[in-house]
Amino acid sequence: MNDKAQQPAAGNSRANTKKALPEHLKSYKHVWVSVELERGVVHPVSWELMGEGRKLADKLKVDLAGVVLGAPGGTAAAVADCFAYGADVCYVVENPALEDYRNEPYTAAMTELVNKYQPEILLLGATNLGRDLAGSVATTLLTGLTADCTELDVDADGSLAATRPTFGGSLLCTIYTLNYRPQMATMRPRVAPMPLYQSGRTGRIIRHDVSLPEDDIITKVLSFLPDGTTDKANLPYADIVVAGGLGMQNADNYQLVRELAAVLGAEWGGSRPLVQKGWITSDRQIGQTGKTIRPRLYIAAGISGAIQHRVGVEGADLIVAINTDKNAPIFDFAHVGIVADATKVLPALTEAFRKRLSIAAARPAAE
């Protein structure tokens, strides 16, 4: 036996049968949102979470706090926005080591804040940054973490009920972290709507100093190579999205999706099998394991609509589905359906939109 490795005891009773929170965890209060500030820009998912966090905090009758980590002098705008998007409190750690995201200093700062101020709920974006950080923080704190939630709620006795797809997206499950604090969860961009921006709304700022000497941090950022803007998928924040599924039959037919998207100035994507077949790259995948979208119009061509896809598109204002199978699950959550071969409908639809838009564009703008 290896007795060198000591782990804090989790108590004797089974986690899933014990209901009462251990005494030392009862002081954990308030809902926190980790505000993802990277290179001067806050990822919108942080504000989406702020909106969800507001609902949880109101139900629990506690404060909603934003946590902003960044370089000295670099956090003011993000802090102001925290309040405008609904936070009551903002915890701020400024340190030169927090200029760029790195796992070591960010985990150290976040863990120290949690241990000192003791939130009951900590929410993070399910981005590369958020997932990298959440996994380290939860393991350091030895608490539960539920990834990629599609819905967050609190139940009658104040526990966080985090719902996410399971079994590869065939079903949903609701997960609790009953006997550990904080209860941690991540949510993907665009799962929740943007909350209202209330200018002039303010709150309490709590500054906390964390000692993070650069000499102690082993990982160094050598450089940052910004993405070129050309042909980069921006599915989550697109107004119109056209996507294809296996019903497009082959890679050549899939081009019909791109042609319609081009006429509409839309983003294009597809369901998971298309990535596996190599028709599209994974950054174009829509669904639970790909991108979550919230467009005003979503056109799904030849997609059957498995749960794994459904959870990625349900936030769309208007879903149009084209599928040959009238019993396809996509017709259960689409608003408008066409039971027909998508490879036949798409060219006609592209042409009809092209005509309509060019005729209307040629007309003097009288309206």
Binding site: N2, R131, G135, A147, F333, G337
Partner: protein, 284 residues
């Protein structure tokens, strides 16, 4: 050099079906595969070994039948495979999983040397959490580099590694010290076919199989369901929307007419959309 690669055997989830009446998972006959994200990490590990020498040990925790995936890794060219299997691990969440895997890796280190690098998949296709890699790194007190797009430089003598990491809006170039834990981004390499010798060796080799006791897991209350802080309270099928999709009439109509009918329907439901489209077309 010693590299440890953590893999998971997962159901080929594209083929999972839900029973239409009982809403339960129909597991029978669902084939299992190596988690596809793990293969990018395994291939990267094999490349490092081929270039710098040493051994690649593949490990997993799972049911006894997970040895099939380990054997597959041997046919790709891994040098050794270890399966941790025990009823105590049933129902593990990510925290309990990282606990068990961290001790498994410690045991592997005692027997075959401290790893210079540990690889995990970016995430699995069944759990999709991306939490186990960071969990193992934290428990073993290792530096972690997730979502690695490319290994730029690997200097075993200086014990340094430089990588490109996928971040929001760009790529971070990070340099750190060995030992560390990496998760590779998908599409970063193509898994090799494996040589005939490896195929034969994989078929013949013994998979090292350890129970919790044999792996030296110190505290079984931190494993499986008991050691998992998260609890699945309910599993359910999503409720259908109250109304089904409004169908556009298709019988006896031309594709052009169907398209016009659809556009009219879209315009009625999203009145502002067409105007905004026109503005975009006009280049405002």
């Amino acid at each position: 050099m010693h590299i440890v690669v953590c893999i998971k055997q997962v159901p080929d989830s594209a083929q999972i079906r839900v029973h239409p009446v009982t809403n339960t998972i129909m597991r029978q006959g669902v084939p299992t595969i190596i988690n596809p994200y793990d293969l990018f990490s395994l291939e990267e590990a094999l490349r490092l070994r081929d270039k710098h020498g040493g051994e690649v040990t593949v490990v997993t925790m799972g049911p006894p039948m997970a040895d099939a995936s380990l054997r597959k890794c041997l046919t790709f060219g891994a040098d050794r495979a270890v399966l941790l299997t025990d009823r105590f691990f049933a129902g593990s969440d990510t925290l309990a999983t990282s606990y068990a895997l961290a001790f498994l890796i410690k045991k592997v280190s005692e027997k075959w040397g401290e790893p210079d690098i540990i690889f995990c998949g970016k995430q699995t296709i069944d759990g999709d959490t991306a939490q186990v890699g960071p969990g193992i790194a934290k428990r073993l007190n290792l530096l972690q580099l997730t979502y690695v797009a490319k290994i730029e430089n690997f200097d075993l003598a200086a014990r340094e590694i430089t990588i490109q990491r996928r971040a929001e809006g760009g790529i971070q170039v990070l340099k750190t010290k060995l030992p560390c834990l990496l998760t590779m981004l998908e599409g970063t390499n193509d898994m090799r076919r494996g040589s005939i010798e490896d195929a034969l060796r994989g078929a013949r080799s013994e998979i090292v199989t350890w129970s919790a006791a044999e792996a030296g897991i110190p505290d079984l209350t931190l494993c499986g369901l008991r050691g998992s802080p998260t609890i699945v309270k309910k599993v359910f099928a999503p409720t259908a929307r109250a109304e089904k999709a409004q169908q556009i009439e298709v019988s006896d109509k031309s594709m052009a007419d169907i398209s016009e009918a659809l556009i009219t329907e879209i315009s009625q439901r999203q009145p502002g959309l067409e105007q905004d489209l026109l503005k975009a077309v006009a280049g405002y």
